[in-house]
């Protein structure tokens, strides 16, 4: 995280993980042949194998493996709570690096990567593309400052479902520090539409432990609400509540077969990527 350039940071992380090729669920047009199929009326006659027809007088259609049709969308939380950080960098910077890394990695494999940034509403949408310069646009979008006075976790899911009809990969990156009502429903809708979803919950270590030091007047970064707080007296209750909250997110993900990764900003990013790739490899 010492590198200032997000793209450079992502490229650095991706190095060494070049083996992470995955099999596309789609068949498309590429040089690699996969199988033959009996021609049926309506098929494109361009793909008839004339040689086989000449040899056997039968009509077969050649099928090729599609290597470039993985569509990955990054659902990126850009709310103000992501600005918090006690490790020298904020959750937002950590999450942006994570998103950029994934984007760079997939782009390097020739996959199309899109972005949907949100806070309390959808702020920015870049369709999944694989064009020269698209990754650059995506990096710029990830580097934009956070805004909004709340986090709405379900709104981006419903907007995404309305925008993207094609199946693909959805990577949901947020701190999930928001009410979880209807989150499970949103995730269920997404998975039901054929999307493969992976959730990254990014949290600061102090958000898990409440090691904040002396009592002070604490201000909510999103709502601006101020309360007088003595962390020493509030710690136990807080830890129980944040743990229960994270468990609720995990439970919602597991119920729908969604991969859930809780990341602390103190953890190295490479580990996160490694875990992600391992999971995909298992899948």
């Amino acid at each position: 995280m010492t590198l200032r350039n997000l793209e450079l940071r992502a490229r650095t992380v991706v190095e060494g993980f070049w083996t992470g090729l995955h099999r596309s669920p789609y068949h498309g047009f590429s040089a690699e042949f996969t199988e033959y199929r009996q021609y049926s009326p309506g098929d494109d006659p361009r793909y008839l194998d004339w040689k086989v027809y000449a040899r056997s007088d039968r009509s077969f259609i050649k099928k090729f493996e599609d290597e470039t049709n993985l569509r990955c969308h990054l659902l990126f939380d850009r709310s103000r709570s992501m600005n918090y950080g006690s490790t020298g960098y904020s959750k937002g910077q950590y999450a942006a690096t994570l998103a950029a890394t994934v984007a760079h990695f997939l782009h390097s494999q020739g996959d199309a990567v899109g972005l949907l940034a949100f806070d309390d509403q959808m702020r920015e949408y870049l369709p999944a593309r694989h064009r020269p310069g698209h990754l650059r646009h995506l990096m710029l979008a990830l580097e934009k400052p956070a805004g909004g006075h709340a986090t709405h976790l379900v709104e981006p899911l419903s907007r995404f479902a309305a925008l993207v009809r094609k199946r693909g990969l959805v990577i949901y990156i947020s701190d999930f520090l928001a009410p979880l009502e209807r989150l499970e429903t949103g995730l269920a809708t997404l998975t039901a539409s054929g999307q493969e979803v992976t959730v990254f919950q990014v949290l600061d270590p102090r958000e898990l432990t409440l090691e904040l030091g002396d009592a002070a007047l604490y201000e909510d970064m999103e709502t601006g609400q101020r309360v007088y707080l003595d962390p020493a007296t509030s710690r136990n209750g807080y830890q129980a509540r944040i743990t229960a909250h994270c468990e609720a997110v995990r439970s919602a993900c597991q119920q729908h077969g969604i991969g859930y990764h809780r990341l602390s900003t103190a953890d190295p990013l490479e580990l996160a990527l490694f875990e992600f790739l391992q999971e995909r490899r298992r899948a």
Binding site: N83, A178, E219, M221, L229
Partner: protein, 676 residues
């Protein structure tokens, strides 16, 4: 050290505040950002675990400031031996104002009043002066300041108590306002009072009934140095109803059965509402006719007409059903109707609307008590002596024969009154005959336009009813013609009114014991507008009064009223009395004495009485004097100014120290949180 307001020392307890705050580890000036407070709830500041004070010097300064502030507000002073105020040394001048009006006759009031006097006298010291005044309608000194001073110190109280024991409530109404004013002036007007610097107090011992007359009290500028202490006494029974006679209706004599109307009023705090009213026998053993039941709610009054019993309307009417009897007897003296005769000589007939007789007949009073009839006499023949003697007044508007004039002169010499209105200069002979002079200068005069009455002697009984400026305008009466009379040569003749040209208009001439009033213009329309003016009827009534009879004879008086001359009795107590002439008249209580509901003290104050104060307790007086001494000493020393200055200094020091501490702590109080 003493304190003027020691209660303010309790404010020093506020030092507990800083002590507590310094025990609380709370750094509210530190602010920090956190991603989300959704899992957090406010936590109260907590005390330091080891009960260790933070910023001890600041704590001391803050406690010191609060302590000094409390000390300053407590107004400390050093008690010094000082001479007592002059007021404490000087004796009081006390006036005990004792109500002896009729309502004080109610059960239990007078013993209470005597007890109050005794208790007040016990508070009067040797240096004090006291006077006791009783009041009803008038103020009566029971014991003057001089008598108090003249008596030996040890015998003063006994003397006063003896005088009070000898007194008793009278029958008069209470003129409370006049009594208070007189008492206040007694305390302020005398030379001794002006020299005295001690307190001046009035103790008012009264039932403070609503009917007490406040008189000029609302307009009186109450002297500031005179204190008023109310000592109200309360009757044993609240119920009191009174009875008053009200005026007869104008057509009372036309009724088949004459009646007397009485008003029964019930006090506002009465507990009874049902009463009986009726005539009482002369010996008072019972009611003559059956009494009339009457329902009077508290605070209201009812009028009831009682038929006059066959024996006449003079007697007493008694109200029963009341708890207090002092105002339950009403004495009624119904005047006997008088019949007077006026003899008239004139050339005109009774129905002649242009003659003076027509107007004179209609101006003569006719009322339930008096009926005046006009009887015409022949101008040529002398009237029968019996008629002359029976007639109250003579009117002549024409020339008389010598015999008739002589007969009239004889009556005038005996004290009768005659009015002569000569119709022309030819009547000069009649006038000369009446005056027994050879001749009088009487000539006809016709003014160019009209004449007016210009110079009137309103002191004369004929014109005295018009003395008030509201009624003294005679300029609307135009006179078309008149006779000019030479007064020179007529002994004792006095012009009580003159025309605007200076000629006499009405002349009063004494004749023996009687008098002759000469009108030099007639009241008939051909002579003047006098008869059709509003002045004529009162002038005729005044002539009848002048002739020796009262046209409005009063037979009902109130206790304390000044009786007319010739009544030969006093009005100090209610009852039925007879004049020297044998006519009955009644004296009754004032109606206001029946309004016995207590007057609210605030109302007395609203009407101008000074601030109502209770009689001061000697212990309270002593305490008040000590308080005054303390206030005086504190006012001279003014320690509070120095203490307040010291408080400001301490606060300045505290502010500086707190600022320095805050600046020192602030850099160290940085909190986590990265903001974009």
């Amino acid at each position: 050290m003493n304190f003027l307001s020691p209660l303010f020392l309790l404010g020093a307890l506020a030092v507990a505040g800083p002590v507590l705050f310094h025990l609380i580890r709370r750094t509210t000036r530190h602010r920090a950002l956190f991603s989300s407070l959704m899992f957090l709830s406010p936590s109260p500041p907590r005390l330091t675990e080891r009960s260790q004070f933070e910023h001890l010097l600041l704590l001391i300064l803050r406690c010191l400031a609060l302590g000094l502030l409390a000390l300053g507000f407590a107004r400390p002073f050093w008690r010094q031996a000082s001479a007592p105020p002059a007021a404490a040394a000087a004796g009081r001048r006390v006036v005990i104002l004792l109500d002896v009006s009729a309502s004080m006759r109610r059960t239990g009031l007078w013993p209470q009043a005597q007890d109050r006097v005794a208790s007040i006298l016990r508070t009067v010291g040797p240096a004090d002066q006291a006077a006791i005044l009783t009041f009803g309608r008038r103020l009566t000194p029971l014991l003057s300041f001089e008598a108090w001073e003249a008596a030996p110190v040890s015998a003063r109280t006994d003397l006063a108590l003896r005088r009070v024991a000898a007194a008793a409530p009278g029958w008069e109404e209470a003129h409370l306002g006049d009594a208070l004013i007189s008492a206040a002036e007694l305390l302020t007007d005398g030379a001794a009072d002006r020299a005295s610097s001690g307190p001046r107090q009035i103790y008012l011992i009264s039932d403070l009934k609503a009917g007490a007359q406040l008189g000029g009290l609302p307009a009186y500028d109450w002297p500031k140095m005179v204190e008023l202490a109310l000592e109200p006494v309360k009757a044993n029974h609240p119920t009191n109803a009174g009875i008053q006679l009200i005026a007869e209706s104008p057509d009372a004599d036309q009724q088949a059965s004459p009646s007397v109307r009485v008003r029964v009023s019930n006090a506002a705090d009465s507990t009874r509402e049902q009463f009986q009213v009726g005539w009482a026998l002369a010996n008072g053993s019972g009611n003559r006719p059956a009494p009339t039941d009457i329902y009077v709610p508290p605070g209201q009054s009812r009028v009831v007409a009682l038929p006059v019993p066959p024996g006449g309307g003079t007697g007493k009417i008694v109200l029963t059903g009341d708890q207090e009897s002092f105002d339950n007897t009403l004495y009624v003296a119904v005047p006997q109707k008088q019949h007077w005769t006026v003899l008239y000589w004139g050339a005109d007939q009774a129905g002649d609307v242009r003659g003076p007789r027509y107007f004179l007949e209609r101006a003569l009073p006719q009322n339930p008590h008096l009926a005046v009839t006009l009887s015409a006499a022949s101008p040529d023949q002398p009237a029968p002596p019996a008629d002359l003697a029976a007639a109250k007044l003579y009117f002549a508007t024409g020339a008389l024969s010598a015999a008739a004039a002589d007969a009239l002169r004889a009556e005038l010499l005996r004290g009768k009154l005659m009015v002569l209105a000569p119709p022309s200069a030819a009547a000069a002979v009649t006038l000369a005959r009446l005056l027994a002079v050879p001749t009088v200068g009487l000539t006809d005069a016709v003014p160019a336009d009209y004449a007016m009455l210009g110079e009137i002697d309103f002191h004369h009984p004929l014109f005295s009813p018009f003395a008030d400026p509201h009624y003294s305008d005679f300029t609307k009466i135009h006179i078309w013609k008149y006779r000019r009379l030479q007064l020179r040569g007529i002994a004792g003749a006095r012009a009580v009114a003159r025309f605007d040209r200076g000629d006499p208009a009405v002349v009063d001439i004494p004749v023996g014991q009687g008098r002759l009033i000469v009108f030099l213009t007639g009241w008939n329309p051909s002579d003047s507008q006098l008869a059709i003016s509003s002045k004529f009827v009162p002038m005729v009534a005044a002539l009848l009064d002048l002739a020796g009879g009262k046209t409005d004879a009063t037979t009902q008086f109130t206790v304390g009223d000044a009786l007319p001359a010739g009544f030969g009795a006093d009005s100090s107590s209610p009852g039925l009395y007879a004049t020297k002439a044998g006519a009955a008249f009644a004296v009754n209580l004032a109606a206001s004495e029946s309004r016995t509901e207590p007057r609210v003290a605030d109302e007395l104050e609203r009407y101008g009485a000074p601030g109502i104060k209770r009689a001061p307790d000697p212990a309270q007086v002593k305490e008040q004097a000590a308080r005054l001494l303390a206030a005086d000493a504190e006012g001279r020393q003014k320690w509070w100014r120095w203490i307040l200055g010291a408080t400001f200094l301490v606060l300045l020091l505290e502010s500086a120290l707190a600022g320095w501490t805050a600046r020192r702590v602030a850099p160290a109080a940085s909190m986590g949180g990265i903001s974009s």
